[in-house]
Symmetry: D2
Subunit: 322 residues, 4 copies
C-alpha cells in the first residue's frame, strides 16, 4: 500500500429530495435544529450551527425522495486537479464541471455505478454569522441556538448499492477513501463498507441494496457532541410526533451512539455522536465483521430492526418500500 | 499559503519524568486509568485503552519532573524522509537518529529552541490485546476496563516557551503544523498558540514561560469520550486525594471541557473531551484572541486560577515553582 | 426526638419581584425555559414542564426585587388545620387567611422574623395540558418543549437571615422541617442551614445575612434531570448574554451540581440537579460543616466567588449591593 | 380518600437467592459495583456506596434463585406498632417477629398471597465508614469507589403475581402504599402496578405472572445518578460477558432510564436512574395505561423483548423458564 491520500478534505454537503417540502423543512429547522441559510426557488440551504460552510444540506422539492447529489470539498486547488485526473481516468461516468450551488464554487461531477451523483469542489462560501447569529465564542461558526436536536455539524451519509465491492472500488479510486470497517457476508459478498478520507472514522457508508432500485439513500447523519444530546433529542422527536425507527443505542461497528428517525417525507435521518473515536492511525487495517458477528445485534445486543434492512429512499420499485 | 502538509500523522507519545516514580505510576494506572504495557528498568510504558500503539506515555524515574521527549508518528516512510530533510534544513538543533523505545522503531530526534526534545518515527509496535484484555468489540484496541478516570486516548500536551512566536516557527517548519488558535497579548507578543497536524483541533499547545527556566512542561492530556466522564473523574480524583487544580469547566479557546490535576510528582495532567469539535476545514484561518478577551475568563466565566500561569514542571529555577 | 412530621407535602411556589418585568419574563420563558400559564395585570404565572400545579413561580412587577412570598402545599386538609394551630401557637407573626392566587385555594399566611412571608395551602389548581401542550407520555404534566434550559420542576429557594439559628427555629416550629445539613462558624453561629419536609435533600436553605437589610432572597432554583442539562444550559445562558455568576460545579454541601445566573432584574437563579440524592432515612442526623471545611471550597475545590456571599435581592441598604 | 400514610419510610433491603453464590457475589461486587459489608456463612451482606444501612442486598446461597424476603424500614417505633396492628388485622399470612439479620433489629414478617415474604423493622444498623472507605465529603455514606457500574443506592424491586389486583390490595393494606401507575389490560385485569410509600415514583412494582409458579422475582434495581452512568455500565457489562437483556432505553411507564442484565445465577438485575422524577404531590392520581398504549413499546418505541414477559426467578415449574 502506498501513502495515504489527503486530496479530499471532508464531506461537504448532501442534497436531499423531498416530496413534502414544507413539512421536511419544518422538521429540519424546528425539530432537528439546523439553521436556514437561504431559500431559493424549490430549494432550502441548511447548515448545523458549527458547520463552517454556507450549507451542508440542500433540501430540494421533488416528485420523489432520496439523495440528489453528494459534495466533497478537496484540500486545495491542486488536489482538485489531481482528483479530476484520477476520476477521468477511472472509467466511471463523468458529468463534468458544473457551476456550484449557492454555497460553493464550480464543482466536478461524476457518478457511481448505482446512480448516485458525486461532486468535488475547492472554492466555497464560508458562512459569515451576523446579528443575533454571532456566537459568544469566536471559534464557533455561529451561535449555538439550542433549537430542537441542535447537532453541531454534518457527519456522514449511507448509500445503498447492489454491489458493495464495486462501490468500494469507486470510493477508493475516485476519492482515495480508506475503508475503516466492513461486513463480509457468508456468501462472500460485502454487506457493508465504511469509508473515510480524514480522521473521522467514516464520512460515508454503503450497505447492500436488496432489489428495490438504484440510487437509493439509506440515511444522512449530523453529529451531536454528547450522548446525552441524543437521548434528549429522542424526547424532542417523541414530543413532535416524529417516527423514531430505532435507538438510541450504540453500533457495534464504529461504536457510534445512534438514533434514527424518518423525516416527514420518509428520508431516514440519524443523529449520532461521531467524534469521540478518531482514526489517527495512518496504516489502519480494515476491520472485517462476519455475518455471525453482525447477527449478535448492536453493541449492547439490540437486534437490528427489520425496516433498517429494507427502508430506503426513494421507497423502491417493487413494493413501495417500507 | 500552499497546500496543507500531511506528513505527520499524529502525536504518538510523551515521556514524562517523575521523582516519585512509584506514586506517579500508581496514579496513572489506578486513578487516571491508563494500562501498563511494560516496565523496564526505570521506565513504565503506558497507554489508554483505545490507544493503538504499545505506549503513549513513557514514565521515567528521574531526579526531576517535566517532559523527557515528545514523539510524533509520521504518515508513511516517505513522509518521514521528507520531514528529516526539512528539519535538517531548518537550522534547529538536530540530535539525529536513535533506536526507538520499546514501543516503536528508529526515530529522528531534534530540539526546539527552549530545550524540548522531539522525535518523529514511522515504524511502530501496535498493541496486541491478549487474554482478559481482548475487547468485546473488535474495533477497539483493548478492553474498556473501567478503572479510574479511564480516558480513551492520548490527546495533546502543552509546553512552555519564553518566545511563543519562535516556538510557532519551529512547529510550522519542523512538523508542518497548522495554528488553529492563538492569543495576541497587548504587548504584541503571542501569549499562547495551539497547533494541529491532523483533524484534531490541537495536539500541542504552547504558552508563554515567565522566567522559570527552559524545557518546561505545562501539562499532558488524555481524552475521555463524554463530559460526564470528566465530571465522574473529578469525584474519583477527590476520593483519591489528588490535587484538583481547576475544573471541570469549558475553555473558551478550543471549547474543550477540561479538568486539571497534579499527579504526585507535580506534573499537571488534564482530562479533556477533545473530539466533539474537529478542524475538517483545509483552509482554516487562525483564530486570534486578544488579551482583553482572555481576561473574561473561561467559556462560562471561570477566572483562570493563578497557579495555571505559574506552575510547570520541573518547578523552575528562581523560586521553586508553585 | 419524636416522630417525623409529614404535614407539609412540598414547596409549592415562590413569588419573585422584578423591576424589569418584561425582561425578566423573557428570561424565564425563552432562556430559562419555564412555561407561561397565565398573565394577570402585573403578574405572570409560570411553571416548569413537569410541575403539576398551575404555577410554581409568580413573577410580579414591582419597584424592587427579591421574594414576594413562599408557598408550601400541605399533605391534606387535616394537615393544614394542624399546621395552622401550630403556627398560631408559635408566637411568630401571623397574617391569617388570604384568598389564593390564580393557582390555588385559600392560604394561611405568616412571617419569619426577617420579613419573609410564607403561606400554606391545600386546595390547588392542577395544571391541565391542552392542545399542543399535551405530552406524548401521559405521566408527564405537560409537553417537554425543549426551550432554553428547560428544567423539570421547582426545586428550592435560599433566603438570607441575620440569625440563622432563629430562622431554623421558625422552620422547625411552623413547617416541621428537618435540618439535613448546616454550617457552624468558628464564632458559634450558624452560617447556613438546609431544610426539608419530604425526601428531597432540601427545599429551602438559609444563609447568613451580613447587614444589607431584611427580607432578602439569595436565590431560587429549578431542577434539571441530568448534569449534562446544566452544562448545556451554561452555553444557552452564554449565548443569550445572561450573567453567569458561578458554575457549573458541584456543591460540597448537599452534593448538588449547580449553575448560578442573575436574571435581568438581578435576582439570582440557579439550575441544579437535585434528585439523584434523596433523604429516605427517617432518623437522618444533621450533617454539620465547620468553617474550616467550608473554606476548602466546593466539592472539587472551586473557591466560592465573593458575590455569592454579598449579592442578594433587593440589593440592600448600605451600598446598593453587588 | 383519607390522609396519606407515612408509616413506612423506605424499601430497606432485598434478599436474593443464588445457586451460583461465588459467581453472583463476584458480579455484584466487581461488575455491578456494590460493596461487601460482611460475609456470614452462606450469606453476603452488600450495599451501594451511598446506602446508609449496613446492607441493602442480602445474597444467600441456595438451591434455587429468586427473592428470599423484602424488608421495609418504618418511620418510627410508633409507626412500626401501627403497621403491625394493621397487618395482623388484614387477614394476610403473618409469620410474626424475627430477630433481624446482621444489618438491623427485630422485624415483623408477613407474606403476600403469592408467597413473597415481607418484613418491616425500625431499629437498624447504620453503616459506619472506616479507613479507606471514609468518603471525601461527610454527607456521603461511604467512599465513591468507582468500581463497576457503581450505583448510588437500592431503588426498587419487581415481583410477579398471578393476580395483580390482589397484590395491590396487599400493598395498600399492609404497607399503606400509593399506586402511582398501573396497566389495565383489555380483559379487565391489572397487568402491572407500581407502588410507593414515599416521594420516589416507585419502590416496588408487580407484574402479572403467567403460570410459571409462585413467589417469583422479576428484578431488583439499584439507582445510578446519571443516564450516562447507565450507558457506561452497558459497556462494563459487555466487557465482562454479562447477559444484557435489554436497554439502555427509557420506560414509558415511570419514565425511568433502564438497563436489564441477568446476573450469573439468572436473577434479573436493573440499573436505572430513578431520582429525576419525584412524586411530591400528596393527592397524586394513579396513571392508568391501556393495553394498546403499552403495545406501542417503551418511551422511544423499543418493543419490549419477549423474555421480559417470561423470564423470572426461580425459572418456573413448567418449562424451566427462559
Amino acid at each position: 500500500m502506498g501513502e495515504p491520500c489527503f486530496d479530499i478534505a471532508h464531506l461537504g454537503h448532501v442534497e436531499v429530495l423531498t416530496d413534502k417540502f414544507e413539512e421536511s423543512l419544518d422538521f429540519f429547522t424546528r425539530v432537528y435544529g439546523l439553521k436556514l441559510s437561504a431559500r431559493e426557488g424549490d430549494c432550502a440551504y441548511l447548515r448545523a450551527w458549527d458547520d463552517y460552510e454556507f450549507h451542508t444540506l440542500k433540501l430540494t422539492a421533488s416528485e420523489t425522495t432520496g439523495v440528489g447529489h453528494i459534495g466533497y470539498r478537496v484540500s486545495s486547488e491542486a488536489a482538485l486537479a489531481r482528483r479530476v485526473v484520477a476520476i477521468e481516468a477511472s472509467g466511471y461516468s463523468v458529468h463534468g464541471w458544473v457551476d456550484g450551488d449557492a454555497g460553493h464554487g464550480r464543482a466536478f461531477r461524476f457518478e457511481d455505478p448505482f446512480g448516485h451523483v458525486f461532486e468535488i469542489y475547492w472554492e466555497t462560501r464560508k458562512f459569515e454569522a451576523t446579528g443575533d447569529d454571532v456566537p459568544a465564542l469566536k471559534n464557533m461558526s455561529s451561535r449555538f441556538h439550542g433549537v430542537g436536536a441542535c447537532p453541531r455539524r454534518l457527519d456522514h451519509l449511507n448509500l445503498l448499492a447492489s454491489d458493495v465491492t464495486e462501490f468500494r472500488n469507486f470510493m477508493q479510486t475516485c476519492l482515495g477513501s480508506r475503508v475503516t470497517e466492513q461486513i463480509r457476508l457468508d456468501n462472500g459478498r460485502l454487506g457493508g463498507c465504511w469509508f473515510t478520507i480524514n480522521n473521522k472514522t467514516y464520512d460515508l457508508a454503503c450497505t447492500e441494496e436488496h432489489g428495490k432500485g438504484a440510487n437509493r439513500l439509506h440515511h444522512v447523519t449530523y453529529a451531536a457532541d454528547q450522548r446525552e444530546d441524543i437521548l434528549r433529542a429522542a424526547d424532542i422527536f417523541l414530543e413532535n410526533g416524529v417516527h423514531i425507527e430505532t435507538g438510541p443505542h450504540k453500533h457495534g461497528i464504529q461504536g457510534t451512539f445512534f438514533l434514527y428517525v424518518w423525516e416527514p417525507a420518509g428520508n431516514r435521518v440519524e443523529l449520532a455522536n461521531a467524534g469521540a473515536r478518531l482514526i489517527l492511525q495512518p496504516d489502519w487495517e480494515t476491520i472485517t465483521w462476519t455475518e455471525t458477528e453482525r447477527k449478535k445485534g448492536q453493541a449492547w445486543g439490540l437486534k437490528t430492526i427489520e425496516t433498517f434492512h429494507t427502508h430506503g429512499t426513494p421507497p423502491g420499485e417493487t413494493n413501495g418500500g417500507t
